[in-house]
């Protein structure tokens, strides 16, 4: 295979990764890693480097559109970024010492469990009563819907913050955006409407990934020949995804999200058992 063929296939794959990542809030990295390792037999460390870049490109590309529409809760994102960036730095440090196979399998189990929980809970209502912490941190907000702006309030801020730290650690450790855990922390734990949690998660992934990306760049995990088709492809997909999200309703989005989360879980566990990490 020539470099040109490799580049074109990778470009198409990264486009699809960006599309799925943007629609679900998972981040493009989760699709880029199996594509590179299973299809092209690229060493996992190059895949992690590319996945981190994909996550940043995906997040920033889609977030710029969502922020303009006023769906993203910037204060909430900023507050939770304390947890995710500290976690990401810890994760990047742990990456040197931890057998990631173990973590990959554990993570897969948690994700499968979470997907089941998400499918069981069908209603997605905005809370009218928030906790004192959410009031103090000014985390409650409103977001535009076709029927006009909807106000929402938050609870379980502490628990959400803890899950976010874990999301950050996994992001730094495995090079993925950990968007699934981010959405779960906001959606299931803090009871934020799905569209807000998806877009705010997307918004945060860029900062989380950037916190560990510098460490990975300095360690030599970023190969330019892999980085360039991945970055460009994911960006294209993310822009398409941002447009599609406006036309899809949260219910459809939730099914896509569940399918994606099962896919991520299977991918993580498979790679863990195969000792591919």
């Amino acid at each position: 295979m020539t470099i040109l063929t490799f580049t074109i296939i990778l470009l198409v794959g990264a486009y699809l990764a960006g599309l799925v990542g943007s629609l679900t809030g998972l981040g493009g990295g989760v699709v880029v890693i199996p594509l590179l390792t299973l299809v092209f037999h690229v060493d996992i460390r190059y895949a992690i480097g590319a996945a981190l870049l994909a996550s940043i490109a995906n997040s920033s590309g889609a977030a710029s559109a969502y922020v303009k529409e006023g769906i993203t809760n910037i204060r909430l994102g900023m507050f939770l970024e304390i947890a995710t960036t500290v976690g990401a730095v810890i994760g990047a440090l742990l990456a040197v010492y931890t057998p990631t196979n173990t973590i990959a399998i554990l993570f897969g189990c948690i994700l499968l469990f979470s997907a089941a929980m998400t499918l069981r809970k069908k209603n997605q209502l905005a809370l009218t009563e928030g906790s004192k912490t959410s009031e103090f941190l000014k985390l409650n907000g409103s977001y535009p819907t076709p029927a006009g702006p909807v106000d929402y309030k938050l609870k379980n801020v502490g628990a959400g913050f803890s899950i976010m730290t874990l999301a950050g650690i996994l992001s730094g450790l495995l090079g993925i955006g950990s968007g699934a855990l981010k959405v779960l922390a906001m959606d299931s734990t803090m009871h934020i409407p799905f569209k807000v949690s998806t877009t705010t998660s997307n918004f945060m992934i860029g900062v989380t990934a950037a916190a560990s990306a510098v460490v990975y760049l300095q360690r030599g995990y970023m190969d330019p020949a892999i980085a360039f088709p991945v970055v460009l492809g994911v960006l294209g997909g993310a822009f398409t995804g941002a447009r599609l999200l406006k036309k899809l309703d949260p219910k459809v989005l939730r099914y896509i999200f569940c399918a994606a989360i099962v896919f991520v879980a299977a991918e993580m566990m498979y790679n863990g058992f195969q000792h591919k990490f």
Partner: protein, 133 residues
């Protein structure tokens, strides 16, 4: 979509619009640089067989350090240009936090000035804190 529709005050909305513009500018700039480097790379090496990425060798210091990336970009080295774009991409979220900090300061939102400063410090620590192993 105006500010009143959102039920948010004007200050918040202004920051959001600025943040959106910064993210878009950063990503577009980064992808243009990466595209330029990528095209040059394909022109020079496109017909060559795909290198083996099966074993991890790590990149050499021309593509992993700030100085190395800058000097290889100035030499018009395609891989160096791609890495320069990668650096711009990584810097975009960091600049976004800095912009948010400015926004919260203008709004005199002390709580969020503190929160944003903490995030920015963590980012700077990971960038220059000697985490290289």
């Amino acid at each position: 979509m105006n500010a009143n529709n959102n039920g948010k005050n004007l200050g918040d909305r202004d920051i959001e619009l600025l943040v959106g513009r910064l993210l878009r500018t950063g990503v577009i700039t980064a992808s243009c640089i990466v595209l330029l480097g990528g095209i040059l790379f394909l022109i020079q090496h496109g017909s060559a067989p795909m290198p083996s990425y099966h074993h991890f060798n790590g990149e050499d210091s021309n593509y992993t350090t700030f100085g190395g990336i800058i000097s290889s970009t100035l030499q018009f080295n395609p891989k160096g240009i791609v890495q320069f774009g990668v650096m711009v991409l990584i810097a975009t979220p960091v600049l976004r936090i800095a912009l948010s900090l400015l926004g919260f300061a203008l709004e005199k939102d002390k709580l969020y000035v503190i929160i944003t400063t903490i995030v920015l410090c963590v980012m700077l620590f990971s960038t220059i804190g000697g985490l290289k192993v």
